[in-house]
């Protein structure tokens, strides 16, 4: 054992000693000086290279004194830097945004870009690409863009739920500036919480998770908020049909830092309040609004130290007031997130990058009712609350050890506070007064994670990202520990082709209890407990990708995923069903299995860009007490799923974009027959059966859960942007059409009694489909100065 340690130390020293000069620094946008994460830095003509980290930093050793670096990023011109190094060099590389209609792609750079990407099942979408998506109701939505990618599925019509490789909406680790967000929907899911003006970019990982990530089973969606423009003050915004947004950003302390403040708000309430009052003679008033506030400030203490503070606050609020001569009552609901993080990036040396962050995130859901009776001076108050709060600290180190090894390690400590459904009731009248709180108890839990990850360039052809994520979760006097191994191996199989193989084990210590599975604010975040264990998954991915033309990449991935300890409401239970402890109302230890093939054709450069994604998949669930213990299709199991995004720049003033999605219909449970049941003490077994038919309720015959399919879902959206330079800046008219060919997509089905229009005789039942959204044209006016 001692010899083994000695060998390891010698090997590390050797790796270190034989390295030559080192180049390190940041990659940033030339005009705004915004740091770019995921930019590729390679030595032209070789496969030696790296990518910038989440903070835009990179570091790599060079084996020659004189080299040409190729630095590239989607939406930017590739920059070539010829360097003659005499010592370790630190520099900032500024990339100019792409302005030419036809992008220049240098043949030599293509191979290296692929060579430095060891990650499988991952895609970066920078903000420039995001802004090309068609706007829905005047708003460009990040999550709708992600839904177009293979392996990522939307749930129900119109909603922004994300279902990755057969996982549920809770199984996505959605990070905003590195901090988890627990609910990402507004207006019941029609919009996500991400204001497009404040987003710098997003990275999605569906499989082959690096060891640095943990806590969710199915995906990591890492959203980076803009630091703010360090070069000049800039204001942008938009006014649309249902919402408006305004963002301002600029330099701080002569460019040593920057700030960014963004606000988005709907004005639906400005219409609904007067309309509801007018329609009811002032008795009823209903208002609804949502807002998102983002604020961020960064400051460079010196060349090696950067501080940043980021805050997000967003809420949906609805209030209904009902007043008459006898009573006044008010109903309200509210859900939303608050998130704050403070971060310190410190370079211990040019090869050791560290990050310390302190985080707070909170999600809460509240529905309440209060009433005052003016006649007898009585009052009632009822409130239901649920939510989750996390307080955490994270310390990360990236050690650029040698030409062949980059080590990442880190530790995270999180304190969770769960409020899984508390009911409060107060009532008061002349005789009695009561004040009661009941429901599930608040629960606290502690989580400690540690990870170690090595990005190892074994040879020119082989690159390995291997590591492990160790997690300790303490709740209810019990500690769950897990070691989650992760590995991704990349093998170059040709000049422009690579083959990848990955394995990832994941553990999730929080569950989402959902009545419908569509990701609504009423869904309840609950902790893993003694009774309800943490969810775990194992996923294997095999991928092949090839650059088939200039800027065009084709990839195919096959995955298999197994999930254990899933939970679901017991049959007949939902969030409304009583104040019992939630643990008594769930089925735990469920299993899930998903397998699929994903094909992705991506054109990244040029006047015409976009992608085509196709997924063939199968996803099942199995619970001992549901569906007689037999496996059944997951509600969002989708055999075929297609997502297409096309954007075309007609000229410098006009861009058009179109998307098309197709998906096999959702799996649903339908009665396959009916029969007469013993209902309210009947069927009248004591005689007079035909005449008492009214009391003889009918029940449905269900031969299995989710045994039927709704009609396929397909929809096209279309967008066109007219941009014009003005004296004061730039304006854009953004016109969008949701559901451009007016397809009536199924939202849900139900059996309805049918009667003859003429004779009014009962004709049996007919299956009816409810659809939500026809073609919806919308426009917004965007400005920037």
């Amino acid at each position: 054992m001692k010899n083994l340690w000695l060998l390891a130390v010698l090997w590390l020293l050797a790796s270190h000693a034989f390295g030559q000069y080192r180049i390190s620094g940041y990659v940033e946008d030339e005009s705004s000086r915004e740091k770019l994460f995921g930019a590729t830095v390679v030595v032209a003509g070789t496969t030696t290279g790296t990518t910038s980290n989440f903070y835009g930093y990179f570091s790599m050793p060079l084996s020659r004194d004189s080299v040409t670096l190729a630095v590239s990023f989607v939406g930017y011109q590739t920059k070539y830097l010829t360097l003659s190094l005499t010592q370790d060099t630190s520099m900032t590389i500024a990339l100019p945004p792409m302005v030419e209609l036809e992008a220049v792609v240098v043949e030599g750079a293509r191979e290296e870009v692929m060579a430095v990407q060891p990650q499988v099942s991952s895609i970066n979408i920078p903000s420039k690409q995001l802004m090309q998506l068609p706007a829905i109701a005047g708003e460009i939505d990040l999550l709708r863009g992600l839904q177009l990618l293979p392996g990522v599925q939307s749930g129900t019509e119109g909603l922004t739920g994300i279902y990755v490789r057969g996982g549920g909406p809770d199984q996505n680790l959605i990070l905003l500036d590195g901090v988890p967000l627990y609910s990402v929907s507004h207006l019941g899911g029609l919009f996500s919480v991400f204001n497009p003006d404040v987003i710098s970019g997003v990275n999605l990982i569906k499989g082959g998770f690096p060891a640095r990530y943990g806590g969710r089973l199915s995906s990591v969606i890492n959203v980076k908020v803009k630091d703010g423009n360090r070069a000049k003050r800039q204001t942008s915004g938009a006014i649309g049909l249902v919402s408006a947004r305004l963002t301002t950003e600029g330099p701080l302390a002569q460019g040593k830092g920057s700030y960014m403040v963004g606000l988005r708000r709907t004005y639906i309430d400005l219409f609904t309040r007067p309309i509801s009052r007018a329609a009811t003679d002032g008795e009823v008033s209903f208002g609804y609004l949502f807002y998102d506030f983002n604020g961020k400030a960064t400051y460079d203490l010196g060349p090696k130290d950067k501080l940043s503070v980021s805050v997000y606050s967003g809420d949906d609020k609805g209030v209904g007031k009902f007043d008459d001569d006898e009573s006044n009552s008010k109903t309200r609901f509210q859900w939303g997130n608050f998130l704050a993080t403070a971060r310190w990036n410190h370079l211990i040396s040019d090869r050791l990058f560290t990050n310390l962050s302190l985080n707070y995130t909170r999600y809460r859901f509240l529905v309440g009712f209060e009433q005052e009776d003016t006649q007898d001076n009585s009052s009632q108050f009822y409130e239901y609350r649920s939510g989750i709060q996390d307080v955490g600290a994270r310390y990360e180190m990236e050690y650029y050890l040698s030409k062949k090894h980059q080590l990442l390690t880190g530790m995270q400590l999180t304190q969770h506070y769960f409020t899984p459904g508390v009911n409060a009731f107060k009532s008061e009248d002349q005789n009695e007064k009561s004040d009661t709180t009941f429901g599930s108890f608040n629960i606290t839990a502690q989580e400690l994670s540690w990870y170690l990850e090595d990005q190892w360039e074994i040879s020119r052809r082989f690159k390995l990202n291997a590591g492990a994520h160790l997690n300790f979760y303490h709740v209810d006097g019990k500690t769950f520990s897990s070691l989650q191994p992760r590995a991704t191996l990349r093998m170059l199989t040709g000049k422009y082709a690579s083959f990848k193989l990955s394995y990832a084990a994941m553990q999730q210590n929080v569950h989402l209890l959902s009545s419908s599975g569509v990701g609504l604010p009423t869904d309840l975040w609950v902790p893993a407990t003694r009774k309800v264990r943490p969810q775990i998954s194992h996923q294997v991915t095999v991928a092949y990708s090839q650059q088939i033309a200039k800027g065009v990449e084709l990839s195919a991935e096959v995955y298999a995923k197994r999930m254990n300890h899933l939970i679901a409401y017991s049959e007949g239970e939902n969030w409304l069903s009583g104040g019992d402890d939630w643990q008594e109302r769930v089925e735990s230890d469920g299993e899930g299995a998903s397998k699929g093939l994903e094909v992705f054709l991506h054109k990244k450069e040029g006047r015409f860009t976009g992608w085509v994604g196709y997924t063939l998949s199968k996803t099942d669930r199995q619970f001992e007490e549901i569906n007689y213990g037999e496996p059944f299709p997951y509600r969002f199991d989708r055999r075929h799923d297609i997502g297409i995004l096309l954007t075309y720049r007609i000229n410098e003033r006009i861009d058009i974009s179109a998307t098309w999605v197709y998906g096999t219909g959702n799996a649903i449970t339908l009665g396959e027959g009916r029969y007469l049941a013993v209902g309210y003490g009947y069927p009248s077994l004591y005689g007079d059966f035909p005449n008492d038919r009214y009391y003889n309720d009918e029940v449905e015959i269900y031969n299995g859960r989710n045994g039927f399919r709704m009609k396929p879902y397909h929809r096209a959206d279309f967008g066109i942007r007219f941009t014009k330079a003005k004296k004061w800046g730039e304006r854009t008219w953004n016109l969008g059409f949701y559901n451009a060919y007016n397809r009536a997509n199924p939202f849900y089905y139900y059996w309805a009694d049918s009667y003859n229009n003429t004779t009014h005789e009962y004709e049996g039942r007919k299956l009816k489909q409810i659809a939500l959204f026809p073609i919806i044209p919308a426009f917004s006016y965007e400005f920037k100065f």
């Binding site: 129900t156 019941g188 009433q371 009632q380 009822y382 009731f425 009532s427 009695e432 009545s515 419908s516 009423t522 049959e571 007949g572 239970e573 939902n574 409304l576 009583g578 104040g579 019992d580 008594e584 649903i668 449970t669 339908l670 009665g671 396959e672 027959g673 009916r674 029969y675 007469l676 049941a677 013993v678 209902g679 309210y680 003490g681 077994l685 005689g687 007079d688 059966f689 035909p690 038919r693 029940v699 449905e700 015959i701 269900y702 039927f708 007016n742 009536a744 199924p746 089905y749 059996w751 049996g764 039942r765 299956l767 009816k768 489909q769 409810i770 659809a771 026809p774 073609i775 044209p777």
Partner: protein, 294 residues
């Protein structure tokens, strides 16, 4: 054609409005389903206070069909045994098969129904012993989360030892009315009651529960009723029921509530069924009642 932006927008708004006038939002659809193969449906509730075993035999209907008297299975050939002895002399009263017999706790009833064009169906059930109900009394006023006022009623009972027992509690009121020289006494069951105890579950005729929380022992339970009339007499009734009755009743409510999917309700719930080869319910109960002391 020279189409301005304003014209284009007007046309689009017209399309949206027109689509709202059509069947866009709700329309009939067709989903391919396996052909419906009808099966026998047997419904029988064995009541210890009754003088006959009664059985209703119907057949299942397709999902888009009607369940009505046309489904009454006139050609069924039932065979009913009580404690292994075949009951004879069935009367076909208003579509029911009625077998006059003396019903006692502990009796077992077996049913086998053959049919000319449907698969055979069968089931069996045993009549449980009556519940040992000790007393019932009024216990003040309670309020629920919506502020509604209820009369609280407490009742005490003893569990029968050595077996798993299933119960249903219900209320009964008695009204005495006079008409000319006659006095009439009306009694009627009240099924709509509640309880603060979570394991007393709603059924269509009261609240069902098991003896899991007071196995072989004595228990005091509380129920709530919101329309207690001072001029009436009230009784608490406890049915000692077969397991099939208990399972059926607790499923029945949630089955009905979850038949129609929407965003907030849960998944559809299959109905309890204890008929082999068919559908329906064969269940049994004995009832005990106690006047509520005020």
């Amino acid at each position: 054609m020279n189409l301005s932006f304003k014209d284009l927008l007007s046309w689009l708004m017209a399309v949206v409005l027109l689509s709202a006038c059509t069947d866009f939002f709700e329309k009939e659809v067709y989903v391919e389903m396996p052909p419906h193969e009808p099966k026998l449906v047997l419904n029988g509730l064995v009541d210890e206070s009754d003088s006959a075993f009664r059985l209703l035999i119907t057949r299942t209907s397709p999902p888009n069909g009607q369940t009505n008297t046309a489904l009454y299975e006139a050609g069924a050939q039932p065979a009913v045994k009580q404690n292994g002895m075949e009951l004879v002399g069935a009367l076909n009263e208003q579509y029911h098969w009625v077998y006059p017999c003396d019903i006692k706790p502990g009796d077992t009833f077996e049913v086998l129904v053959n049919d000319d064009d449907l698969p055979s169906a069968s089931s069996s059930v045993s009549l449980p012993n009556p519940a040992n109900l000790l007393k019932a009394e009024l216990d003040g006023i309670r309020y629920d989360i919506d502020g509604y006022e209820y009369s609280a009623i407490k009742f005490e009972m003893v569990d029968e030892k050595g077996v798993d027992n299933f119960y249903e509690v219900f209320l009964m009121y008695e009204e005495t009315a006079g008409y000319e020289d006659s006095v009439y006494v009306y009694r009627s069951e009240i099924g709509w009651i509640q309880s603060p105890i979570p394991w007393l579950e709603e059924s269509s005729r009261g609240l069902v529960f098991t003896d899991a929380a007071f196995k072989d022992g004595e228990v005091s339970l509380e129920i709530w009723y919101d329309y207690y009339h001072p001029d009436f007499k009230y009784y608490v009734g406890v049915r000692s029921v077969s397991e099939s009755y208990y399972e059926y009743m607790r499923k029945y409510e949630i089955h009905q509530w979850n038949q129609y999917p929407d965003l907030f309700s849960g998944e559809p719930v299959p109905m309890y069924n204890n008929i082999s080869g068919g559908y329906g319910l064969l269940a049994a109960f004995t009832s005990t009642v106690k006047k509520i002391e005020e």
